[in-house]
Symmetry: C2
Subunit: 139 residues, 2 copies
Amino acid sequence: MSVQPCYNLAMRQADRVLTGLYNAYLSETGLKITQFSVLRALRYLKACSQKELEKVLLLEQATLTRNLQPLLRDGWVKREPSTEDGRVWLISLTTEGFALFKQGEKRWQAAQKKIEGILGQDTLAQLMDASEQIVKMRD
Amino acid sequence: MSVQPCYNLAMRQADRVLTGLYNAYLSETGLKITQFSVLRALRYLKACSQKELEKVLLLEQATLTRNLQPLLRDGWVKREPSTEDGRVWLISLTTEGFALFKQGEKRWQAAQKKIEGILGQDTLAQLMDASEQIVKMRD
DNA sequence: TGATATTACATGTATATACAACTATATTAA
DNA sequence: TTAATATAGTTGTATATACATGTAATATCA
């Protein structure tokens, strides 16, 4: 009887490889793909609370707080207190952050194309479909 | 024109959900799925160098060094200097580590079954196939 | 209204991960 | 045989992630 595959190990390994590839493409921007994901979400959400950003990125509240720190420190993202709710910070891209996002977007596009070329549409469709179903398990 | 999906974000999100599910199943053992993966690899590799373990787990050298630390500290894994090469440490499960692995294996099996039930064989086959192809990109 | 519960976010602690630089040992080549 | 190189592993530094707990502000309800 052969050794059973662990679905989680397989996925973590693939995730590390894929993340490494995106990071390599983004390296000239100084961004990691995790950080680019935050900028990209903010580019589409405009100003939003951390809560909204958490839901879009599917991150823990504390994780997002930590992930925002380097982006705030480096001036790509800014926060302003909400006038409607004293507990809420409104998060948005700075002008510099938007410019960096545009720069990163080119590299991200290149990474996406690269992966499409290597894996093909079928495998990518499989991946996206499986990922979507896994995320739905959470509900 | 709709917003393009990021393959990496999709995969990271799915990975977090899947990892959370395995961790929940393993919680009663005090192990995380990342740690269980190391024990499981050692259970099949028997005594081996860190280098061999890195290759099996597809981990960076420094990452494995760090990942072994809680397992060594808690007495699940032991290291002995190789008699053949002064640079090499031979890693293996302790008796207690093997017992914990056996305990964790039941919970891991339950997690695997749970996921099979939720996602079905087709989606899982897609996931494993896509993961394998992504890992191959590294070569 | 005032006590209670909920919500938004931060902080403490711990593991996971990677890259770069370092140490010690082994291998190769001049 | 010695000098250069390669290999095995560690350490410094930084980000990513999660869970538990803490704090402040809002919302609910008796």
